[in-house]
């Protein structure tokens, strides 16, 4: 759905419900698998929901449409959030979430394009997804847009900046990169490990357009996209987010980067998400 006007209240309520469901499905998968990455999945729930339900031209009825918009989850460990969005979008039944990370499942630990309907690119090894998104944007020849989500910790990978440099050089106006700036990586706070510093200045120094927003605010995401679409060249949307967003005991904690909740924690997490 490509909108002319701003999100209506009705649409906003619907998106919030979708994001809530996205979180519940992510946690359902991770809990069933007894492994996975809840922190970084919960932090992108609004971004992924916005893209799949308010932005991208993709349809489960025509999953290989050559003119569809493309999505690359460069921070592939947040796969549960992507799978949840694809399930909600109708690419496969929501029931599949329970098979996450199991032998024989279509839902691999990290996105695998040959296994999962709707996944445009295999990712998981950090730093590689943005390059592939850049390639898709080149091949688009004006027929579609390409969206990628990268993590803030992932920006420590040098290949990201190779892709950033080339995307500006080629003035890829159809490339939109969301930085999930949740400030925490596996081992601890990102700024204690290898500081990412001022991301707006960094991307602007590389020639990119930038937007800096609250990545959990749908209206802010919409505003950033509207602004980005009017500009020439690629845009980085720096999204301030909270790792583990929506589950208070997971929020801002490196412990929940790659740990699954136990039964009690899972119940508490679901109850809190449902209540909000």
């Amino acid at each position: 759905m490509h909108k002319e006007a701003f999100l209506t209240n009705e649409q906003l309520v619907a998106l919030k419900e979708k994001a809530k469901k996205n979180r519940l499905l992510s946690l359902e998968g991770i809990y069933a698998a007894k492994s996975g990455h809840p922190g970084g999945s919960l932090s992108i729930a609004e971004i992924v929901t916005y893209l799949y339900f308010a932005e991208m031209n993709v349809s489960a009825d025509n999953p290989t449409d050559p003119c569809r918009d493309r999505f690359v989850l460069s921070k592939g460990h947040a796969a549960p959030a992507l799978y949840a969005a694809l399930a909600q979008k109708g690419f496969f039944p929501e029931e599949e979430m329970k098979t996450l990370r199991r032998v024989g499942s279509m839902l691999q630990g990290h996105p695998a394009s040959l296994k999962t309907p709707g996944v445009d690119m295999s990712t998981g090894s950090l730093g590689q997804g943005l390059s592939t998104a850049c390639g898709m944007a080149i091949a688009a020849k004006g027929n579609y847009n390409v969206f990628a989500i990268v993590g803030d910790g992932e920006l420590q990978e040098g290949q990201i900046w190779e892709a950033v440099m080339l995307s500006n050089h080629l003035k890829l106006s159809n490339l939109y990169v969301f930085v999930d700036y949740n400030k925490v990586q596996l081992s601890g706070p990102t700024d204690e490990i290898s500081e990412v510093l001022d991301l707006v200045k960094k991307f602007e120094a590389f020639g990119w357009n930038t937007e800096e927003i609250d990545g959990h605010d749908f209206e802010a995401i919409e505003g950033a996209m509207t602004s980005a679409k009017a500009k020439v060249g690629p845009t980085a949307i720096i999204c301030h987010t909270v790792k583990g967003k929506g589950v208070s005991f997971m929020e801002g904690s490196a412990k929940w980067h790659g740990n699954a909740p136990n039964a009690e924690q899972y119940a508490a997490a679901c109850a809190e998400i449902e209540a909000n």
Binding site: V72, L114, M121, S122, C134, G135, Q159, E162
Partner: protein
Amino acid sequence: MADIATREAYGRALVELGKKHDFYVLSADLADSVKVEYFRKEFPERYLECGIAEANMLGVAAGIASTGTPAVASSYAMFTAGRGYEQIRNSIAYSNLHVVIGASHAGVSVGEDGASHQCCEDIALMRVIPNMTVISPCDAIEAAQATEAALLKVTGPVYLRLSRPNTPAVNPEGYQFELGKGVVLADGKDVTIVATGLMVAKALKAREILKEKGIDAAVINIHTIKPIDSALIAEYAKKTGNIVTVEEHSVIGGLGSAVAEVVCEQAPCKLTRVGIPDTFGLSGSSDAVLDYFGLTPEGIAAKVEASL
């Protein structure tokens, strides 16, 4: 075709193929060296200069290929198979994307640039990756046809190993390259020399030296290292009972290892691997470095004689 380098034949073939088929060609500041400069001049709208950033180039190629248009990514063997190993594995091969990696300047025949640029590990690195096809043409005519096969016959990733120096023609005009099929260039009953790439021409000369000594050697060109022609190798293992592999690559993991795997499982026989020992290369002219490592007709003949 004249005695030109396989990289040169590849560069020319891309232009011919580009006239009829849609694909992108990418390079990383080495278009002239790896001969995709010809394609750039002819089809600038389908050429992509990526700058000195090979990892990104391989990822961009994966992204392009994911949309259904093949991509040819070209640099030196060292900076594709070496530097870009994980991008090739995870971004390209895992999704079985149709990316042709045109890897020039393979092996020690790079010469003067020295060990930092002499990739003798690439066959080992590439053939272990699932979905990957590995081709190592021996002369210009084969390189041109291998380029065509990589773009038109294969649907997944291809590693095309190319060389810097000019190479004598081994195959006759009218030669038909057949992916995955070894070529018996000369029959023999005492021993079988199995060679690839630049070493094929030298193996044929070694055969002449051996002939004068009364040794009847068969010579097989294995241009496709993966999938390897195991039936032909097993046939000659049984027929001659003695195989000597020759490659401009480490004796670990390359053609010698691939042949050993076939022979051990299907037709055990004596086997000698000739190649670069477990060491780095060194600076020198192409011929001088090959000579240093014994990768000459005389050196090969001596190893074959010793194996009897």
